[in-house]
């Protein structure tokens, strides 16, 4: 039975259910008692008390490091970083400690936790509150990287992330907190399985996070023009659904990878290279932000965007010749 929910409500409901089902699940971050910046935790402190929904000092390194210690003694923390940008203050704790805690100690330990990092451009937030850095974390063995783009996925993937015994870096896009959609609480999504948003024959468009929504709009527009695009939302970047993308490109012969993060060193390069090796002769294009910084003024901010038009135009050009 599906219910209408927003993107922010969906992950909140997933967290609420997980906390009800398992008393070792708890969350920690700044201002959680007031719901955090975007209302992700509204009502949870009232429901579960301040010991399980912990208001922390502005100490990102301690939030992340303490979560690891607490995970090593058997609890399952959900870490709130407020903005993915601030998680950089806890880079050692995530990259050197959490990601390595299991391997380095020869499997004696697990770091079962979810690290929530609201990501992406949102309302003139400028250079330190707008970045998309998901590709960085795909480079770190030990981490799982998840980028949901719909309310259903934000519900189902949050549940999967909390249930996982691995550290899951969980990027929620700030621009779509209010996005509404049908959510079926009984629907499980496996981390690592892409969603085929639209079936097509001429070109494959791969994306994730909010850009997957733009790719879907581009697919609809292209259909009106007689171009049949297959739109794939990866949903997670590590692991990513290579099999789905390979099968699609084997059929269409053309691949566009589109993402909000900077094109240089973006995960699109990894997708493109992998498919170039796996599907000889495939034509491939990458769309990402120019390698510049995100500004405050809306017209400057827009210079960094990958748009529906840009995705559709790339598809037209590729299918034209």
């Amino acid at each position: 039975m599906a219910e209408k929910m927003t993107y922010v409500e969906a992950s909140r409901e997933a967290l609420r259910e997980a906390m009800q089902a398992d008393e070792t699940v708890w969350c920690l971050g700044e201002d959680l008692g007031r719901g955090s910046v975007f209302g992700q935790y509204l009502g949870l402190q009232e429901a579960f008390g301040p010991d399980r929904v912990v208001d922390t000092p502005i100490s990102e390194a301690a939030i992340m490091g303490a979560a690891l210690g607490a995970a090593m003694v058997g609890t399952r923390p959900v870490v709130e970083m407020r903005f993915s940008d601030f998680a950089l203050c806890a880079t050692d704790e995530l990259v050197n400690q959490i990601a390595k805690a299991r391997f380095m100690f020869g499997g004696q330990s697990r770091a079962a936790m979810v690290i929530r990092k609201p990501t992406g451009m949102w309302r003139s937030s400028a250079a330190q509150h707008s970045q998309s850095l998901e590709s960085w974390y795909t480079h770190i063995p030990g981490l799982v990287v998840v980028c949901p783009s719909t309310p259903q996925d934000n519900y189902s993937l949050m549940k999967a992330a909390i249930a996982a015994d691995d550290p899951v870096v969980y990027f929620e896009h700030k621009n779509i907190w209010g996005m509404e959609g049908e959510v079926d609480r009984s629907l499980a999504v496996e981390i690592g399985k892409a969603a085929i948003r639209r079936v097509g024959e001429d070109v494959t468009i791969v994306s994730w996070s909010d850009t997957a929504n733009l790719a879907e709009q581009a697919g609809a527009r292209l259909a009106e023009e007689g171009i049949s695009a297959e739109v794939i939302d990866l949903r997670s970047l590590w692991p990513w659904d290579k099999a789905a993308v390979r099968a699609s490109v084997a059929k269409t012969g053309r691949l566009i990878v589109a993402h909000e993060s900077v094109r240089v060193g973006g995960f699109g390069g990894e997708v493109a290279a992998t498919i170039a090796e796996a599907v000889p002769g495939a034509r491939i294009r990458r769309l990402g932000a120019p390698r510049s910084l995100i500004a405050y003024a809306p017209n400057l901010e827009d210079q960094m965007r990958v748009t529906v038009d840009m995705i559709a135009q790339a598809a037209r050009e590729m299918t034209n010749d």
């Binding site: 301690a62 490091g65 210690g69 058997g74 380095m104 030990g142 691995d166």
Partner: protein, 335 residues
């Protein structure tokens, strides 16, 4: 503190403290030989020779299920917490059956069976992790506590502030220990540390601070007993500042030529924690033959274990890909 004429329990305890320090020293002397003479230990090792009283004195105050987080200089802490020295030697040699399967080595030595959740290769990083372990224990309503040991150099890193503040704010069951050997690698710590240093900084965050002669194992043990009892009773975190001295170089390969001439020699001659405890026990009436036996037994134990470790094979190649992660594991990732 034990005095001559105390009952047998005190005597046994004082002997046990000496025995543990002798075992730690013997372990590390063998490890240094394995590194320098035999080239069996390939990575860097950071000996705690001269600092054994901290490990022995603090760990005797803990239960097996209490939690410990330590530093790159962590062999002594790990052994004193109850880890198996054979598994530790195997780990230093990168062998199968090492406590971390040969994946961690000296700097990541850990034995979760005895609550030792890891040495750490990043200075100061264990401070927030230890606070978090205590947070988890408190959340679960456990009466276990955590001990979080770091060096004097770590007090200049951010996690010192964040971790101590965190523990104080949530009144966590954690004992922070600054094992102050006065040197941060090749730099004298006080030349790069503002104000009154470790204890003053901890006190500023409201933690009760106890300062001890870290080379007097009886004093360390007595302080640890009291602090651990208060922490276990739910009185919140405390801070132990133990003043000691690093008798060796920073690593086993470091000749420490940067130190003023005679400084290390003076400490070895006058302030060695093992020599001091032997003198203390002699004053209690323990015969020198018994002290010699303790020494010889520790030496023989560790020499034999190193031999045994050296005869162990390296871990299977495919374990380079295990225990990374379940989801997206490199053991399964293939295209």
């Amino acid at each position: 503190m034990s005095e001559p004429g105390d009952d047998g329990d005190n005597r046994a305890r004082s002997i046990a403290l000496l025995r543990m320090m002798e075992r730690i020293r013997a372990f590390e002397e063998q490890a240094i030989l394995a590194a320098e003479r035999d080239r069996l230990v390939l990575g860097a090792i950071h000996p705690s020779i001269g600092q054994e009283a901290c490990a022995a004195g603090i760990m005797q105050a803990l239960r097996r299920d209490d939690i410990l987080l330590a530093t790159h200089r962590g062999h002594g802490h790990t052994l004193a917490k109850g880890a198996d020295p054979l598994a530790m030697f195997r780990e230093l040699l990168g062998r199968a059956g090492g406590c971390c399967g040969g994946k961690g080595g000296s700097m990541h030595i850990a034995d979760f069976n005895v609550g030792m959740l890891g040495a750490n290769g990043v200075v100061g990083a264990n401070i927030t992790i230890g606070a978090g372990a205590a947070h988890g224990l408190k959340l679960m309503g456990s009466d276990r506590i955590a001990v979080d040991i770091f060096g004097d150099g770590a007090v200049n890193r951010g996690p010192f502030l964040e971790g101590l503040n965190w523990a104080a704010v949530y009144a966590l069951p954690v004992l922070f220990v600054c094992e102050d050997n006065q040197w941060s690698a090749t730099t004298r710590t006080r030349t790069v540390t503002a104000g009154e240093g470790a204890g003053a900084r901890a006190a500023a965050m409201g933690l009760p601070v106890t300062t001890v002669d870290g080379n007097n194992v009886e004093e360390v043990a007595a302080a640890a007993d009291e602090m651990v009892a208060r922490i276990r009773a739910g009185n919140g975190p405390e801070f132990l500042h133990a003043i000691t001295y690093r008798q060796t170089g920073h690593t086993s390969f470091d000749k420490a030529a940067y130190r003023p001439e005679g400084e290390a020699e003076r400490h070895k001659m006058e302030d060695d924690p093992i020599a001091r405890q032997r003198a203390f026990l002699a004053g209690m009436g323990v015969r020198s033959a018994e002290l010699e036996t303790i020494h010889a037994e520790a030496q023989a134990e560790m020499a034999a274990l190193l031999k045994e470790a050296a005869a162990t094979p390296f871990p299977p190649d495919d374990t380079a890909f295990t225990d990374v992660q379940d989801i997206g594991s490199p053991a399964k990732e293939a295209f």
